[in-house]
Amino acid sequence: MTSALLFAFSGVAVIAIGLFGLIGRWRIERRVIAFNLVGSGMFLLFGAVAARRAGVDADPVPQAMIITGIVVAFSATALFVALIERLVAETGRSTLPEDTPDEDA
């Protein structure tokens, strides 16, 4: 069990956790956090998958891609948050009209 594999697995686990948050949460702001978890888990998986090797120093290409990914994810999150704020300001709710208005704080 190399630590690379270890991190790969925990990446997968984080993805699963985030997915659960994405499905199981109605409040959109919580979904956004979950979405960030999924993304981060994927980057972790990417880094770990690219690190399955002995000796040679780290592969820079995935690292660069991951940094790009982190920035993109942040941009999306910012837009997400802004839209949610606007929705709440307009409707006073942070759940999508179509979803069941289930309040888990």
């Binding site: 630590s3 270890l6 991190f7 697995f9 925990s10 997968v12 686990a13 984080v14 993805i15 699963a16 956790i17 659960f20 499905i23 199981g24 109605w26 409040r27 702001e29 919580r30 956090i33 960030n36 978890l37 981060s40 998986l45 880094g47 690219a50 690190a51 399955r52 090797r53 040679v56 120093d57 780290a58 592969d59 820079p60 690292q63 660069a64 991951i66 940094i67 790009t68 982190i70 920035v71 993109v72 942040f74 941009s75 999306a76 910012a78 837009l79 948050v81 802004a82 949610i84 704020e85 606007r86 709440v88 300001a89 006073g92 709710r93 942070s94 208005p101 309040e103 888990d104 704080a105």
Partner: protein, 313 residues
Amino acid sequence: MTPVLFDAGLCVLILGVALASVIVREAFAAIAFFIVYGLLVAIAWTRLDAVDVALAEVAIGAGLTGALFVGAMSRIAQAAEAQAAPRRHPERLAVVGALLLCGGAGAALIFTVLQLPEVAVSLASLAEANLALTGVTNKVTAVLINFRGYDTLLESVVLLVALIGVWSATPDRFWGGPPGLQLAMTQDSVLGFFGAILPPVGFVVGAYLIWIGSSAPGGAFQGGTVWAAMLLLAVLAGLIDPPLVSKRSLRFGLVLGPALFLAIGIAGIFRGSFLGLDPPIAKTLTLAIEVGLAVSIAATLALLVIGKPRRAA
């Protein structure tokens, strides 16, 4: 204790915190856990000797995202006071279903990961071989600005587009006003104190990160993020007021980096190929691009966290 054991412990922590950030009731607690999660993952990145990623994760993944969430939650909490819907627990069945689904997905992923060949095909040596032509010694920077600069160019535009999107979520009556709320922050508060002394320091740190980026971990994104953090601090401390969204100089600052990058790229067409930096001047061009990007990134990130205008000009 052996590294593997340390890693195992780290992973356990990461998973615990991640889980907590999803299941805790209080939104703010969730955010706190998420920030901690970011820091722990950053450590994980160092363990995967990806220090550049670790820096980016700390600065953006944990830091700015956290700040964004905190600000947003407080505003949403205020606005959502109105919603006094009865608090109901989600149906057990739904939860179980979600759990099964995610468990299944996770298992499938684990299985797929195990199918992967033992040793990854690494581009490290190839990057190494061509590093001399890029004028930099930090391979990640070489990839970001040179080998795959095209991705970075598009990404910098993505940031800009996000900001436009955020601004366009403004109610029309506030358009033209400065971003963010008027903060009743008094100079003598702790924040005010730090807000007064930190920015200069932080500015130097950021500049150093950008400069060092060519040879050591660091670069436009990490440095730009530090600058952004300092700007935020100064705004919070009430030292500076965010500029009007319509301010011409602000607009130019936002597009400076991508525009410079694009310009150099197009110039490259005449010297060889789009976004090609010819070796003799590659180092200079790289630095120029990094500085330009850092400026725009700093401004954009800071404004993304501050959010849309919430008061008239």
